[in-house]
């Protein structure tokens, strides 16, 4: 099926200059996700200062909402629809969203940092409130009464004292030119608009805060949904890429004789070290890629041995250092401590390993309009990056976002799209690329490895007087999470374009994640040079909550170590050194739900038999969201296997838009981060990543899922929403490690907590 045609932006705006435009050309049954390739007038992003850049109401009364924020699987599209329906007082199913199309949505910086609700909903809420205000003005004129005497229900405006006098939004649609200029502030994630109409007070909400079913799930479950994989452009070919034989290997020659014999073979594409093959069907492309005999120079043994990773990180030169928190004089307190604790924690490289290995289509016309279909999180950045890659003006690139598999950051979907662009450019036809599993798991980007060294001072009364935190980590953004430059893309790097926009992103404590209220704190973060500076399968970038799981593993494990040294219950200890009431509240709520057994860890009385049981806690705070996670575990003393039997998670992200979608988001974060805590570790040899599939890169499976997962939602309608996409991933590793310590007395300071590591730690205590 060809991408479905929807009305172009030009057609939207041509028949009226104002807010309400008839949609005579738009069949409302048309899926708005897949818009057609545009004509030159249609591909530049609309100005956010116009109300109709955000929403339009058609003659059927449907509200068409335009947002630069895509859906990445956590239900934000439904939450946005709730917010718009709430402010406009229209039925929820009258709201239809267009997301992430660079030609018809404002640049909101795409998705990232758990900000889609926290920041991204603001302009939608304000634009909707302003539209309601303007519609009431129009209705007042039509009905001959002041706007204050009107009320709105289900998109129909009525005179309060005389409800038969009414006019619907649908009837008002297309009436005239309105003053629809909005005041714009901020840009990217922070882009916001305001008009004369003000949003409702949260106490009046009837749609926001309700567990509305997600709009995207029935079509997905019934098999009607169109993902990026299902975009079929007329005349489209299929491409596959062939990566170098290892890091540092360069292209020597290609023998395409066997590939040419594959029916459907179209072309081999070589551009520097970028090699791909194009065929008429996907299976033909896969076979041709296998049959292509590429000769590379010998890979360079540039990576350290896996077993030496952390030693290598300790000896590597530091590229940049940042002090993220200083209170009092931690060094002095540590030197005069009655008791000093020190511990180091290590967190590995991890892979995004998305469920679908990345898919995109591109139709390149360097003398006209290039169209790229991609599921990457930041379509407007992609537009800029591809304009630079193709050396064309930004307004001649149209990126159409179509949902891909869950992305969890910058997984490589960006690189897949660049591969499609390079191949389409080379063959002069539209090309679809879907990566292989190995392309994604081995050559997709990685979350950085992180080491955290912690120290604490206890005084004679066992009061914690100082904590010192020092991290050494690869940058969370050697591959910039914003794909807005040509060198950002793997294919482009292989073709010889340097990656110049990576930045130092620190594994830090005390900024996004406010530390405890110890009298003396010093937090310092060091960034190491890239594992390999160039096109490498170990490019580091954002993976769900960039460094949060790694730093939280360290800090929240260490809080437990201090509590144990002080002989205090782990939750009591935390409550004592935290001032923020909301942070305290999530810990207390989780403890209450779990029936927390208040006592110091480890457990004094061990059960007999092979299974040791324990409970542990972790606290996560991020940008105004507070999460308390309790894990209950069973540890097999013989094998070192850890099974989490129960999670209890208390979560406070301010105003809750949709409690059901929030609950399922938190549940999934808990299980995904359980996999990252117990299993996930990117393995490599001296020149290649060896974690290439679901066997060599194991993630959480059905047998790993706890028997009980309980989520406690704390709603604060009076506090603006903060983020929920990532914060509940943070504390899981520490909660589990703390529970293992509680059960066995063994402290595991290296993630993931594999049976071998747990067994070794238990053996160390027993031999001590």
């Amino acid at each position: 099926m060809a991408p479905q045609l929807a009305v172009s932006r030009r057609e939207f705006v041509k028949d009226a200059g104002g807010l309400l435009i008839g949609f005579s050309l738009l069949d409302s049954s048309v899926l708005p996700r897949v818009l057609a390739a545009g004509s030159p007038e249609t591909v530049s992003a609309p100005s956010p200062s116009r109300l109709d850049a955000w929403l339009r109401i058609d003659k059927e009364g449907l509200v068409h909402v335009f947002t630069g924020k895509p859906e990445i699987g956590m239900g934000v599209s439904t939450a946005y629809a709730q917010i718009v329906a709430e402010e406009l007082d229209v039925p929820l199913d009258h709201v239809q969203l267009v997301m992430g199309d660079t030609a018809s949505t404002a640049n909101q910086g795409g998705v990232g940092g758990s900000t889609s609700i926290m920041l991204g909903s603001k302009p939608l809420r304000n634009a909707s409130a302003n539209a309601r205000y303007l519609l009431l003005q129009m209705a007042a004129q039509r009905l001959g009464v002041p706007a204050e005497q009107l009320e709105v229900k289900d998109g129909v405006v009525r005179v309060k004292s005389s409800p038969t006098k009414s006019v619907s939004y649908a009837e008002l649609a297309g009436v005239g030119d309105l003053n629809d200029a909005l005041k714009v502030s901020g840009d990217g994630f922070s882009l916001n608009v305001e008009g004369a109409g003000k949003p409702k007070d949260p106490s009046a909400y009837t749609v926001v805060g309700k567990p509305v079913p997600r709009e995207d799930l029935p079509p997905k479950i019934l098999g009607h949904f169109q993902y990026i994989t299902d975009v079929r452009v007329p005349g489209m070919l299929h491409g596959r890429v062939i990566r170098p034989s290892g890091v540092g290997a360069t292209f020597v020659s290609v023998d395409e004789s066997a590939a040419k014999a594959i029916p459907g073979f179209v072309k081999t594409v070589v551009n520097g070290n970028f090699v791909g093959v194009v065929a008429d069907k996907e299976w033909a492309a896969i076979q041709a890629a296998k049959a292509l005999h590429v000769t590379w120079t010998e890979p360079k043994a540039l990576f350290p041995e896996q077993k030496d990773l952390y030693a290598y990180m300790r000896s590597a030169p530091v590229k940049a250092t940042k002090e993220t928190l200083r209170r009092g004089d931690a060094a002095a307190a540590l030197s005069s401590a009655a008791k000093k604790l020190e511990a180091s924690y290590e967190f590995p490289f991890q892979s995004h390993a998305t469920m679908g290995p990345g898919c995109a289509a591109a139709d390149v016309h360097t003398d006209g309009i290039t169209t790229v279909w991609s599921g990457a999180q930041k379509p407007h950045d992609l537009q800029k990056g591809f304009a630079e890659l193709l050396r064309v003006p930004i307004d001649s690139v149209h990126v159409i976002w179509v949902e891909d598999a869950g992305s969890y950051g910058r997984p490589g979907f960006e690189d897949t799209a660049a591969d499609a662009v390079l191949l389409s450019q080379a063959v002069g036809k539209p090309v679809r690329v879907q990566w292989s599993r190995e392309d994604m798991t081995a050559w997709g980007t990685k979350g950085p490895a992180v080491i955290c060294d912690l120290a604490a001072a206890l005084d004679a009364q066992r009061e914690a007087t100082a904590v010192q935190f020092t991290s050494r980590a690869f940058s969370g953004a050697d591959t910039m999470f914003r794909p807005s430059s040509a060198g950002n893309f793997l294919g482009a790097m292989l073709a010889g374009i340097p990656n110049t926009t990576g930045m130092n992103e620190f594994a830090q404590w005390g900024v996004e994640s406010p530390a405890y209220s110890f009298q003396n704190i010093l937090a310092t973060a060091h960034v190491l040079p890239a594992f390999f500076d160039g096109p490498s399968p170990m490019r580091t970038t954002h993976l769900r909550d960039p460094e949060g799981p790694a730093t939280s593993f360290a800090t929240e494990s260490f809080m437990d170590e201090i509590a144990a040294a002080a002989g205090v219950d782990p939750i009591e200890f935390r409550l004592k050194y935290i001032d923020e009431p909301r942070a305290k509240a999530v810990l207390t709520a989780a403890a209450q739900k779990a029936g927390w057994d208040t006592r110091p860890s480890p457990k004094k009385t061990a059960e007999g038999g092979d299974i040791a049981r324990g409970r542990g806690v972790g606290l996560s705070t991020r940008n105004g969201t507070y999460v308390g996670t309790i894990a209950e575990v069973e540890v097999n003393r013989k094998t070192g296997t850890v099974h989490v039997t129960r999670f209890v998670c208390a979560h406070d992200c301010g105003l809750i838009i949709n409690p059901e979608a929030l609950r399922t988001t938190i549940e999934a974060n808990l299980i995904q981060s359980l996999g990252r805590s117990l299993k996930e570790e990117t393995m490599f040899d001296r020149s290649n990543v060896t974690s290439i599939d679901w066997i060599t890169y194991p993630v959480a499976r059905a047998s790993d899922v706890p028997e009980r997962v309980e989520v406690v939602l704390i709603d604060h309608p009076e506090i603006p929403s903060s983020g929920a996409g990532e914060p509940s991933s943070r504390a899981t590793a520490a909660a589990i490690a703390n529970a293992v310590f509680d059960a066995t007395g063994a402290r595991i300071r290296q993630a993931p907590l594999t049976p071998a590591r747990v067994k070794a730690a238990m053996d160390t205590i027993h031999s001590a």
């Binding site: 099926m1 990445i72 699987g73 956590m74 239900g75 079913p213 997600r214 995207d216 799930l217 029935p218 997905k220 479950i221 019934l222 098999g223 009607h224 949904f225 169109q226 993902y227 994989t229 299902d230 079929r232 029916p263 069907k281 996907e282 299976w283 896969i286 390993a353 998305t354 469920m355 679908g356 290995p357 949902e403 891909d404 598999a405 869950g406 879907q434 292989s436 599993r437 059901e660 979608a661 399922t664 988001t665 549940e667 999934a668 974060n669 808990l670 299980i671 995904q672 996999g675 599939d693 679901w694 066997i695 993630v699 959480a700 499976r701 059905a702 047998s703 899922v705 028997e707 997962v709």
Partner: protein, 157 residues
């Protein structure tokens, strides 16, 4: 190339393809179906699951030659007379999945499991799901949906 006859979702299709081509690509590229989905190509994840004679099968691992003449049902073929299959209804009711890219595997494996064993124990359910991947990790909702489908089938039996 050779012509194979495939019965998919109740309709017979003649396709002229390489008999060694995996069923996955024929369903997607020759018949234009959006389900199944490519996940790994090596039979490790289940995103490409279809029912073949009511067994959950990985279509990336079955050649079109081996699928010929068998009853193939894809996710979009589960609906009957415009009504969702009860297993689909249960997944919708539980608001299961985030991205949903993996769900061919879970929904069709659940259907095949419940057809064979209408009241699976927790251990039986986990066992039948052990070779499936949901990277977003929506397992809690998946398990709840299977329990719901099992209970509603027993109520209506």
């Amino acid at each position: 190339m050779s012509v194979a006859s495939l019965k998919v979702n109740g309709r017979v299709h003649k396709v002229d393809v390489d008999p060694k081509c995996p069923l996955l690509y024929v369903l997607r590229d020759d018949l234009g179906l959006n389900n199944p989905r490519f996940g790994c190509g090596v039979g490790q994840c289940g995103a490409c699951t279809v029912l073949v004679d009511n067994r959950a099968v990985r279509s990336c691992q079955m050649t079109v030659a081996n699928a010929a003449g068998k009853e193939i049902v894809t996710l979009e073929g589960l609906e009957a007379n415009g009504k969702p299959h009860p297993v689909q209804t249960a997944f919708i009711a539980e608001q299961t999945f985030q991205c949903g890219y993996c769900l061919n595997g879970w929904v069709l494996t659940a259907k095949a499991l419940l057809d064979k064993n209408p009241n699976p124990s927790d251990a039986e359910m986990r066992k039948s799901f052990e070779n499936l991947v949901c990277r977003c990790a929506s397992h809690v909702g998946i398990f709840a949906a299977v329990r719901r489908a099992s209970q509603s089938a027993r109520r209506s039996a």
